[in-house]
């Protein structure tokens, strides 16, 4: 439908997945430009998935220098100090990713997320941010929303054996197959800021506890001026205090945010590789859906906890918005 046909080489390489999503979706994938910010294990998994899927280009941003800790759940980096010494995480991951699929252009950009202007985001169709502050998430999401074209925006974070994905597809139209018919659908997404501003009391009682716990930690990081991921077990009293305050302010029972869950999330801050694989897989699938415009995308949060094994979708949006 886009006129250009897949090459013989592409048809051979992508044979099995074209059988899943069709040649049309494959063509759209090959024209999509994806930005990722923050190269930890989950994002490495995601990058592998979409490079294999055959996106047009992938741009990596992470100026941090590689350390043993950063490599713990990242299979993109050879565990050889001679190789990683002095290079940034983005540079190291770029080298491996290029190797996965020669048909995808993988490159590195430098800079802090907060320093990127609207024009920067204009180069992309999909933006995925990880390991960044609440303020940075809100800002990046806002700048994507200012553009005339639709940029699909995602945040992803894993702590201990839990993971969270946030999705903003703005005003999104897509098609899906129901029985033999193809039907057109439409979804309205809130921004990250709008979503996290929905009063907790307005949310269904059964909303995933992880949602609230992640917000508490996010707010704690912001209040204490911590870097993302730098809230540790020593902070437990402070985190619990903030939880209490937030629950009071939101007029919800404190049982919405179990103490033991918060404790788990800040005890072990390194990612758990199986959870990286799962969250990176779900995120990859979502991005492929958004680019191809096929299939129900998730709206607008996804949570996984290895402890109970559930992978849950939550719609966190103001029920009155847009009415």
């Amino acid at each position: 439908m886009d006129g250009e046909e897949l090459t013989e080489q592409e048809t051979a390489l992508y044979d099995r997945q074209i059988r899943v999503w069709g040649a049309d979706a494959q063509r759209r994938l090959s024209k999509a430009h994806v930005l990722v910010y923050g190269m930890k294990g989950t994002v490495a998994e995601f990058c592998k998935n979409i490079v294999l899927a055959g996106v047009g280009s992938l741009t990596l941003v992470d100026d941090r220098v590689a350390t043993e800790e950063a490599l713990s759940s990242n299979f993109l980096i050879p565990l050889d100090e001679n190789v990683y010494n002095g290079k940034t995480l983005a540079e190291l991951c770029c080298d491996s990713l290029k190797d996965f699929n020669p048909m995808v252009r993988v490159s590195v950009e430098k800079g802090d997320l907060l320093s990127f202007g609207v024009d920067f985001f204009n180069k992309f169709d999909v933006v995925v941010v990880s390991c960044c502050s609440l303020a940075a998430k809100k800002m990046a999401n806002d700048r994507c929303r200012k553009l005339s074209k639709r940029v699909a925006f995602y945040t992803v974070d894993c702590r201990d054996s839990c993971g969270e994905i946030f999705v903003d597809l703005q005003d999104y139209r897509y098609s899906k197959k129901k029985l033999e018919e193809t039907i057109e659908c439409q979804l309205q997404y809130p921004s990250f800021e709008e979503a996290v501003s929905v009063p907790w009391r307005a949310l269904p009682r059964k909303t995933s506890k992880l949602y609230f716990a992640m917000r508490v930690i996010e707010n704690y990081e912001e209040a204490e001026g911590r870097n993302p991921g730098e809230v540790l077990i020593a902070d437990l009293p402070g985190v619990l205090k903030l939880k209490k305050e937030l629950c009071t302010a939101q007029s919800v029972n404190e049982s919405h945010v179990p103490d033991n869950l918060l404790e788990r999330l800040i005890t072990n801050t390194t990612e758990f590789p199986p959870v990286c694989a799962i969250i990176g897989g779900i995120l990859g699938q979502e991005v492929i859906k958004a680019i191809s415009g096929k299939g129900d995308p998730l709206k607008n949060f996804f949570f996984f906890d290895a402890l109970d094994g559930k992978g849950i979708i939550e719609d966190i949006s103001d029920p009155n918005a847009g009415k």
Partner: protein, 624 residues
């Protein structure tokens, strides 16, 4: 680990990152181009090499200090016996076929090693934990059988493209290029046996000095023209069906075209591609194109010509292989010509290849997710955290908000012939059926044994092995040809046969019951095994049936052929969970999940059954 393919690559990576130090990995396959889109440990330069070995080397690059041992071998090799399996704490399957899964299941049961089993197709996937005595084994529940089609649908009344593919692949291709001695229903018609079988064979034989182009036209006219005319003569068949249209080579090929065809070949004769591909020699590039009837006919003649001129030596021994370009081209063209005759929409080579090769729809993301879930279960197994074991479904459409849905494992099926000691019973005509029939149709086909021993009490009736002396081999060979009642120790009503597979260390008893008559249509084997979970078959009952080749599905849950309009009905046996306390909500959800996966029913947001609760919800429910 068994399997270094789609799931295997992801699994080996995640295991290594998660801190597993000692991993053995078995895979008999070598790397192909179509693997590279998801089996991310492999590169173009590795095509043709051992998957297990390349996967090992790739993982050692980012985790150099762990021990990975690779085996480029079939897990069914005798080397991988019970002793071999006993050295492991847990076995993880990333397999692509039912046979190997059953085999590993038995070895794990015999070695008493927990097994984590997995499978994916497209966006669907499943992970289960099988622990002897604790949870069901892989064979406690019936598995969807490969889809089969009634013979007369294939030979006389195709109504879907897949019927034409099966005809082209299993009948015509085999007849022309495969084993001539194999039984072949190509010329069977629903009505009569008018044409004598001798004549039939002659038609497909290329006559001495017969020009290959003449031969091609003769075959074409016979199968697409004459046979259709014959079929049309049986008015009864077409009362409620659309009448097919005979197609003759002269209708589809003008002389000019035929000549052009020949000259194109000569021009390109030096091009390598034209030797192996009719598309290449005819200058057709895009496998996604749907060819016209005339293009299909040209491909048909060209593939036939190329087979006879370039691959003459293989003729007589060929079997269809989805990676054989020329074979795929032939089958696509033949299926399309037949489809045109029956008014069925034509398909591209890409689509035809998928149907003919039973190609599994596979994406990297699902495999990555499933591999993550396998590692989570493997860690629980190592901790013996039995209460936390879960069977997890990866769904395409959320069910009760869940894309990843865990359910408690089922307890062992008490009448499972594999993991319980329940005997099977077999009704058989002991005066007609030979031991050979019993070995082929029951022991191998139904019980999945590779190296069987058959005993009546202490008397050995049959065994296989390398270390048998000649007398014994001759003795067993003689036994195979005898009817059961005339064996040295006669097998009659009331006899209990013990069948054992030494490699699998799996034994079962079969109570024999003599029965005179069998319904040829419903019991084509001439025997009836019960107590064995019959794979459900999504089929109208017919005399005989033809399957679309062996299933290569990655998944135990979804039928290979996920056509939305064909639903296999699975009788979900009543099951109980590990806990004795009935929690119907969870069972229902689990049963429903099974059914959803087997039937691919789209979830419809009814909220009656809730699988809800916090992280310790299961426990609470159990206590209530």
């Amino acid at each position: 680990m068994v399997g270094a393919g789609g799931i295997g690559c992801e699994l080996l990576k995640t295991l290594a990152l998660s801190g597993f130090q000692d991993i053995h990995i078995i895979d008999m396959d070598t790397i192909e181009v179509s693997n590279l889109n998801r089996q991310f440990l492999f590169r173009q330069s590795h095509v043709g090499q051992s998957k297990a070995k390349v996967a090992r080397d790739a993982v050692l690059k980012f985790r150099p200090h762990i021990n990975i041992k690779s085996y480029h071998a079939n897990v069914k090799d005798p080397d991988f016996n019970v002793e071999f399996f006993k050295q492991f704490n847990v076995v993880l399957n990333g397999l692509d076929n039912l046979d190997a899964r059953r085999h590993v299941n038995r070895l794990c049961l015999a070695a008493d090693v927990p097994l984590v089993e997995s499978g994916t197709t497209g966006f669907l996937g499943q992970v289960t934990v099988h622990v002897k005595g604790r949870t069901e084994c892989y064979e406690c529940q019936p598995k969807p059988a490969p889809k089969t089609y009634p013979v007369c649908t294939i030979t006389s009344t195709p109504s879907k493209f897949v019927h034409c593919i099966v005809w082209a692949k299993d009948l015509l291709f085999t007849k022309l290029f495969g084993d001539k001695n194999q039984e072949n229903d190509l010329n069977i018609r629903s009505s009569d046996g008018a044409s004598s079988s001798e004549n039939v064979v002659d038609v497909f034989e290329r006559k001495e000095d017969e020009d290959v182009e003449q031969y091609g036209r003769r075959i074409f006219d016979h199968v697409f023209g004459y046979n259709i005319e014959l079929a049309l003569s049986n008015e009864e068949t077409w009362k409620n069906r659309n009448r097919p249209k005979p197609i003759y080579s002269k209708d589809v090929l003008s002389d000019e075209l035929a000549h052009q065809n020949g000259s194109v070949n000569k021009n390109l004769a030096t091009d390598d591609g034209s030797l192996v591909s009719a598309m290449a020699s005819l200058g057709m590039k895009n496998p996604q194109d749907i060819w016209s009837l005339s293009e299909n006919s040209r491909i048909f003649f060209e593939t036939l010509r190329l087979f006879f001129t370039n691959r003459g030596k293989e003729i007589g021994n060929l079997s269809f292989d989805k990676d054989d370009q020329l074979a795929v081209e032939f089958v696509t063209a033949a299926a399309n010509i037949r489809a045109a005759s029956f008014g069925i929409p034509l398909h591209s080579l890409f689509e035809a290849k998928g149907i003919a090769g039973n190609i599994v729809h596979a994406v990297a993301t699902t495999n990555a997710i499933i591999a993550g879930l396998i590692v989570i279960e493997a860690i629980k197994v190592l901790k013996s955290d039995i209460k936390s074991y879960r069977m997890t479904y990866c769904l395409e459409h959320p069910s009760r908000k869940m894309l990843l849905m865990p359910v408690e494992p089922f307890e062992p099926n008490k009448s499972c012939y594999v993991c319980s000691e329940t005997p099977l019973s077999l009704e058989i005509n002991t005066h007609h059926s030979k031991l050979k029939d019993f070995v082929e149709k029951i022991v191998k086909a139904k019980l999945g044994m590779n190296f069987p021993i058959i005993m009546q009490g202490s008397a050995l009736l049959y065994e296989v092995g390398d270390d048998l002396d000649e007398d014994m081999v001759a003795n067993y060979a003689a036994n195979l040809e005898k009817v059961l009642a005339e064996l040295p120790s006669p097998v009659t009503s009331g006899t209990v046969l013990t069948v054992e597979d030494l490699q699998q260390e799996f034994t079962c008893n079969i109570n024999i019951k003599h029965r005179k008559e069998f319904d040829e249509e419903k019991e084509p084997d001439g025997m009836l095994l019960s107590g064995w979970t019959q794979p459900p078959s999504a089929l109208e009952k017919e005399d005989k049936s033809i399957s679309n080749g062996a299933s290569t599905s990655d998944t135990p849950i979804a039928a290979t052929e996920a056509e939305k309009d064909e639903i296999g009905i699975v009788s979900a046996a009543k099951k109980r969970r590990l806990s004795d306390i009935v929690d119907s909500e969870l069972s229902n959800a689990a049963d429903e999940a099974r059914n959803r996966n087997q039937l691919q029913v789209i979830d419809d947001e009814d909220d009656l059954v809730m699988l809800e609760g916090n992280s310790d919800g299961y426990k609470k429910k159990r206590l209530q």
